[in-house]
Amino acid sequence: MSDDGEESGGGVKAPPSDEKDDGEERAPDGVKAPSREEVVLDRIEAFRRRRPRLLEENITSAHGAGGKASAALTDAVFLEAFRNDTLAALSDGALLELPGGERLAYSTDSFVVKPLRFPGGSIGHLAVHGTVNDVAMMGAQATWMSVAFVIEEGFPIAELKAIVADMAEAATLAGVQVVTGDTKVVNKGAADGLYINTSAVGVVGSVELSPKQVRPGDKVLVSGTIGDHGVAIMLARGDLALEADIKSDTAPLNGLVEALLAAAPNTRWLRDATRGGVATVLNELARAAEVHVTLEESMLPVRGPVNGACEILGIDPIYVANEGKLVAVVPPDQAEAALLAMRTQPAGADAALIGEIREEPPGIVLINTGFGGNRIVDMLVGDPLPRIC
């Protein structure tokens, strides 16, 4: 971006006039000279297509929120330093080919949730489910897992035991074995209680899941109600004077993926809609696949209390994090089978068709509102913040 405002349009401002409101009217007869408005719009488009720029001097919470700032950080710092084709795919994990031809999915994630225990689960459940799900989104069943703890001095051992018991329970249910680990203790104040990192690997089946597989006409499905986890955490922090019966949806999705892929073998693409919610993962898809996504607001499954809490806070549930929901793109003729298969699974009981893939305009996610209008669902710049006005 240029910091020099003067270069824009030669500093000439179109004189304000009622007649000239629409730039396009001014094109001379027959010749399609771009209007000044066109020029400005073209410049914006060129700017938006550029790699995101990291402008800040320090890390802020926006860099961890999964939106534009996170993308800029990943691109400018990590991809820049580690550049290789596997990493450049920037998917949920790495797809690795073994000498024997087998393909391995490998993913890692760190967990820093506060509070450590919330309605519906704990950081222990999240740490197992998050990584198992990332591997599942690549079409693999996680088989082995590593676990690393960073623990603040003074942390109660009883609480650690309870969290580790949650992890063991979650791992058993998800069919993954914890095979290696690490523990670090830091000075009091150097960490906020407990952080967990997990990594997992699994063998990928015969499916080909990638944005490249996505075609216009494909259907967009979600495996259940959205926004439960993020709202449950916000309420559990206790600084909102709101009470509601909302539980985190944290759950392993590997069984669901297995059932889905069996019923819809040509499934194009899968993502678990964690940080940034359904809106963020679909924006990433629209950009990566250069397709357009149209959603129907009335078809989004949202629990009443979640909807109510979001309405009060001025937050859109479509941007709120989930920990046990995936978004799937499937060919139109397999959509029905995919939905039925997901609904047979405990984690997919509320699975729904929410939209479809179209050609134009590419890179954009649009939602038809229940009211009859529509709006663009853009990437968020940072965390969704409650509004006062």
Partner: protein
């Protein structure tokens, strides 16, 4: 959701849109919605896509976080970075840029910033941390000012002296007047603010038709409220009437909320002038704590730079707000001023006119997507 879905009924919306088409008869009319809450509803529900193209909505100055000038943000950050201070404000204040970053940046540098949902939460933090100075950065129109006032009354009653308020409350009538005073104004009517009017009532707007000859309809925040507000404006224009009307009768009374007004007058006094981002100084437009509450006034308790940071000269937010120019006609639009590095108020909020045009301008011009059931 009960009592919400009724105001979002697509069939009723189609009916209202037909009425708007018939009443406007293709005439190009510009209405300003004054309140940021209305702008939010307009974007969230895609109201502009269902309106006929001859009805244009101009997004007004009513986003309370976006109008805070850079100098005040800088002062707030200076207080926030004072050792021992816990600095609190509403969430959407966090990203508003000052001359050297936002509160979010100050937090990243180590300031103890805590997002609250009510000034009472800030007071609770003060009670829980008696050895720390807790400051609430108060923002908003008459909508939020009463809750700040109640909090201050409680602080005084309970003798909590480690709590103070950095007051940036503003009032709605002066900026409305400033917009109406502009010689190059091109507006045909106003959708009056709903939440503010629940407090101040409808009477303060009578000067709008009386002195400036523009109709004003106070409207609610659901999409049907806004469409109904436009219908009422168009009926006034058709009938040759020009008055203040109330669409939001389920919440707004003519005289307002007398109790809230009394509490405000107990705590606040009007500043001689206050600066608005993009609009300059507007006299009698800001509130400060009065003499009786001076001990809780953060501006007196802390030394702040108090330096006025001029809006960048090239920024033309004022003209955009008055509907004089379109965002793309501003010199710095899309170059020096973008959603990631906003200069003016219209780019600060994602719902500001410039940010919305930046993100959706191209799309709005290419009508390749059939608008559902419009």
């Amino acid at each position: 959701m009960k009592f919400v879905d009724e105001y979002r009924d697509p069939a009723a919306a189609r009916f209202a849109v037909e009425q708007i088409k018939a009443l406007s008869g293709g005439k190009h009319l510009k209405f300003m919605e004054v309140c940021g809450g209305h702008t939010h509803t307009i974007y969230k529900h895609g109201i502009e896509r269902v309106l006929p193209s001859n009805i244009e909505l101009i997004h007004g100055p009513g986003c309370p976080v976006c109008v805070i000038p850079m100098g005040r943000v800088d002062d707030g950050i200076a207080v926030a970075e004072t050792p021992g201070v816990i600095f609190t404000s509403f969430g959407d204040m966090m990203r508003v840029p000052g001359s050297n970053g936002s509160l979010l940046d100050a937090k990243a540098r180590g300031a103890d910033f805590r997002m609250v949902y009510s000034p009472l939460d800030a007071l609770r933090i003060a009670k829980e941390n008696p050895d720390r100075e807790v400051v609430f950065f108060a923002i908003g129109f008459e909508t939020t000012a009463p809750s700040t006032a109640v909090t201050l009354q409680k602080a005084r009653a309970a003798g909590i002296d480690n709590f103070s308020v950095f007051c940036n409350h503003v009032t709605i009538v002066p900026p409305l007047k400033a917009i109406l005073e502009s010689p190059d104004l091109r507006l045909d009517g106003f959708i009056g603010p709903g939440h503010v009017s629940t407090v101040i009532g409808n009477r303060p707007y009578r000067f709008v038709p009386a002195q400036y000859g523009k109709p004003l309809v106070t409207s609610g925040f659901e999409p049907l409220d806004i469409l109904q507000g436009i219908v009422m404006l168009l009926r006034q224009i058709r009938d040759g009437r020009c008055e203040v009307e109330n669409q939001y009768t389920r919440a707004v009374r003519d005289e307002g909320n007398l109790r809230a007004l009394r509490i405000m007058s107990d705590v606040f006094e009007v500043r001689p002038y206050f600066e608005w981002r993009g609009m300059g100084f507007i006299s009698q437009s800001g509130l400060k704590l009065n003499e009786a509450f001076a001990p809780w006034d953060a501006e007196l308790r802390f030394s702040v730079p108090g330096v006025r940071v001029a809006d960048p000269k090239a920024c033309q937010c004022g003209e955009v707000l008055k509907g004089v120019i379109k965002p793309w006609e501003c010199k710095v639009f899309g170059t020096a001023c973008t959603p990631e590095t906003p200069i003016g108020t219209c780019m600060v909020s994602s719902e500001g006119a410039c940010a919305a045009y930046y993100n959706y301008g191209r799309y709005n011009r290419t009508a390749t997507i059939p608008v559902k059931s419009a």
